[in-house]
């Protein structure tokens, strides 16, 4: 292969008893790309993302990050990766800065200075006052911002997002995608599972539609309009 995508799935297959969660899934996400995984509940989007985190070991096939097989080097491949699930759960009794300090230290092995931590939190959209507040009282949107700050502190160039904006109000969702655009502009490769077709078209560079563990369609977002994407999605869900 001439180029190697930052994120790559090669024939990923995972079964749970009789359920096929992933069925020979192939995909690749390059630096500067936002790849949106679409599909009904239970289509296998989260399972795919979890394979990149070594939370799930595929039965066959492999997940690769920067050319390394995740299952062979789970710790090494996590070095450049950030994960933002639907709700970024943090230590409720600690402040945003303290949470970030812990995860950044876990991620980089060195303890960042407070000004650096504050800088990342502010870049992610929190105020300085909020940065010192207990995370226990944070809204979902504020938690996602701490998640982004972790990615920034880590200098991650591979982002795995599992429905990161579901449940966010439109403004928070908009802000989140703004940050995503910034990370992408810095060369990050983003894999995002989402049910939001509008956002997928807006901030995604490519979309893949999944059904029962298989990728049934894949296209560039600049080749298709909003209405056409919805049409295509519904068509795949029906047959």
């Amino acid at each position: 292969m001439a180029y190697s995508p930052l994120l790559e799935a090669r024939g990923l297959t995972k079964r749970y008893g009789d359920t096929v969660a992933l069925d020979a899934l192939d995909l690749g996400v390059n630096s500067g790309e936002v790849y949106c995984l679409l599909g009904a509940n239970g289509a296998g989007k989260s399972t795919a993302i979890n394979c990149f985190l070594d939370f799930v070991r595929p039965d066959t096939g492999s997940a690769l990050i920067g050319g390394s097989v995740v299952a062979d080097d789970p710790i090494g491949t996590k070095q450049r990766l950030a994960y933002i699930p639907e709700t970024v759960m943090l230590y409720g009794n600690l402040s945003a800065v303290e949470n970030l300090e812990y995860f950044a230290t876990l991620a980089t092995g060195t303890r960042p200075a407070r000004p650096d931590l504050l800088k990342h939190l502010i870049t992610a959209g929190l105020t300085e006052v909020q940065a010192d507040q207990r995370v226990g009282g944070f809204s979902k949107g504020m938690r996602q911002k701490v998640g982004i700050a972790i990615a920034l502190a880590k200098g991650a160039d591979v982002l795995l997002l599992d429905e990161p904006t579901s449940g966010l109000d439109p403004k928070a969702s908009n802000e989140f995608h703004g940050l995503l655009g910034m990370l992408r502009a810095h060369g990050a490769a983003v894999l995002m599972a989402t049910h939001d077709l509008f956002r997928a078209k807006e901030s995604g560079t490519r979309v893949g539609i999944m059904k029962r563990g298989r990728k049934v369609a894949e296209l560039r977002t600049d080749e298709i309009g909003h209405a056409d994407l919805e049409q295509l999605y519904l068509q795949h869900m029906h047959d």
Binding site: F55, Y91, L94, T105, L106
Partner: protein
């Protein structure tokens, strides 16, 4: 990220949790109350001992003065034959006799243990030794759950609960709250991070138990002048560490089993119940069946019968006694035999009959104690209990040592007075000063250590096996979602 940094972070999180402070207050208050109860019990014993010693010193002084006057030929006062300090038979039977005292050990305030059922003093006498002590209680495992509240009990029963309460949801809780996913998305070995989460909590419990010991030692006035006491204290702490490691191992294995927090709480509680309550009770029940206590009452009855039989055949008893003590015959001046010698002869005859029964009785008790000791290996709680009690001098080992030393002393005492009775020597002031005194010789801490080592070693091995099992499981816990 270094392990220590991970621990520090966990402590930061824990510090802000109410559970920790509830545990600290509960454990601390209970521990201090227990320590004060041990201190009160020990102070009471010391008071009794001081009173006994003072009473003896007074009697000894006044009898000694009387003896001096009589010896000097002062006949101004008539002395009853039963209170004559010159008579070796009378003094030997207990006139002004010293007490054989088992003093509380250096760390006594830390454990009451068996001490509330063990006699800790007796008076020296030429009488048959079997009549001195009545103590057939084997280590009673019910003491584990219903014994007097002392620090050893708190460590044995409550300390594991604190470890388990702090660690039971270290992994499951984070998984259920969702923080685990963010943690495990970082480039760290899950075994290390999760191990740190568990260790941080267990170390807190350990610090609490050790801290409590030190506070108890300071508050109860344990004197720390003797290096041997320091060694015992160090061993006490080592026992806490090893016992804690065992519970940490159990918690680690359960945490790694990928159960819900509620399920792991139930499993750990079941383990606690099994190790601290059920196994000890089973061990006790089995020992009671396989090695029933020999009856002290039956033995006393037999001794009375043997004494009666000897009195009935007084001539025979006298004849065989004289056969054994030809020196007495040699200078016997005829006439009626000394009643003191007759009573010696009767005691001798009775004890001759009883000797095999005593031996059988002691052997049965020893066998029972040995069986109880080997059953200890069933449960680390039993091993730990025995170790803590031994270190505080409240176990049965120290009492057995006291009994053995008492036996030796008793023989020495008898020899001293019987030989003088037989040679018809009255006691002189020099003799008076040479009357044997009892002084309990404490087992050295290093000898104690050799005795405790196998049990502690086994517990430590068990802890390591459990922790290794848990460590393996923690890797899988990273994938369990």
């Amino acid at each position: 990220m270094s392990f220590l940094t991970m621990l520090r972070f966990e402590w930061r999180v824990l510090r802000r949790e109410r559970l920790l402070w509830v545990a600290v207050v509960f454990f601390g208050a209970l521990g201090l109350y227990a320590a004060s109860s041990g201190a009160r019990f020990t102070a009471q014993q010391r008071l009794t001992i001081a009173e006994l010693e003072q009473a003896h010193a007074q009697r000894r002084d006044s009898l000694g003065q009387l003896l001096g006057r009589l010896h000097a030929g002062d006949t101004s006062r008539r002395v009853s034959a039963f209170a004559d300090p010159r008579s070796p038979a009378v003094v030997g039977r207990g006139l002004g006799a010293p007490y054989t005292i088992l003093p509380p050990a250096a760390l006594a305030p830390l454990a009451i243990g068996q001490r509330d059922v063990q006699p800790f003093w007796a008076q020296a006498s030429t009488r048959t030794k079997q009549t001195f002590f009545v103590n057939d209680e084997i280590e009673n495992p019910a003491v584990l759950v219903s014994g007097r509240l002392d620090l050893a009990f708190v460590i044995l029963v409550v300390y594991p609960l604190i470890i388990l309460a702090l660690t039971f949801d270290a992994v499951a809780g984070e998984r259920e709250r969702g923080t685990l996913a963010i943690v495990l998305a970082q480039p760290v070995d899950p075994r290390r991070v999760l191990g740190a989460k568990l260790a941080a909590r267990a170390l807190l419990a350990l610090a609490l138990a050790l801290g409590l010991t030190f506070v108890a030692v300071l508050l109860t006035g344990v004197s720390l002048g003797d290096p041997d006491t320091w060694l015992r204290l160090a061993l006490w702490c080592a026992v806490i560490v090893v016992y804690g490691a065992f519970w940490f191992g159990i918690s680690m294995a359960v945490n790694a089993a990928r159960m819900s927090a509620a399920a792991s709480a139930v499993s750990l509680l079941a383990a606690w119940l099994g190790v601290v309550v059920v196994l000890p009770a089973v061990a006790a029940a089995v020992v009671t069946v396989t090695h029933p206590s020999p009856s002290r009452i039956a033995l006393t009855t037999r001794l009375r019968e043997a004494t009666d039989a000897a009195s009935a055949k007084r001539e025979d008893a006298m004849a065989s006694f004289l056969l054994d003590h030809p020196a007495y015959i040699a200078d016997a001046s005829g006439g009626a035999p000394d009643p003191n010698v007759v009573s010696m002869a009767l005691q001798d005859a009775a004890e001759r009959v009883m000797a095999p029964e005593y031996a059988a009785f002691d052997a049965a008790l020893d066998a029972q104690r040995d069986a109880a000791a080997s059953f200890r290996f069933l449960s680390p709680a039993l091993v730990t209990q025995a170790a803590l009690l031994d270190l505080a001098g409240a176990g049965e080992a120290r009492f057995r040592a006291y009994e053995r030393q008492f036996d030796t002393y008793h023989a020495e005492w008898r020899d001293f007075f019987f030989s003088r009775t037989l040679s018809r020597r009255s006691l002189s002031p020099t003799d008076w000063d040479a009357i044997p005194m009892f002084r309990f010789a404490e087992e050295s801490a290093s000898a104690l250590w050799r005795r405790l080592a196998p049990g502690l070693g086994m517990t430590l091995l068990l802890a390591m096996a459990l922790a290794a099992l848990g460590r393996r499981g923690l890797t899988a816990a990273a994938q369990a979602r």
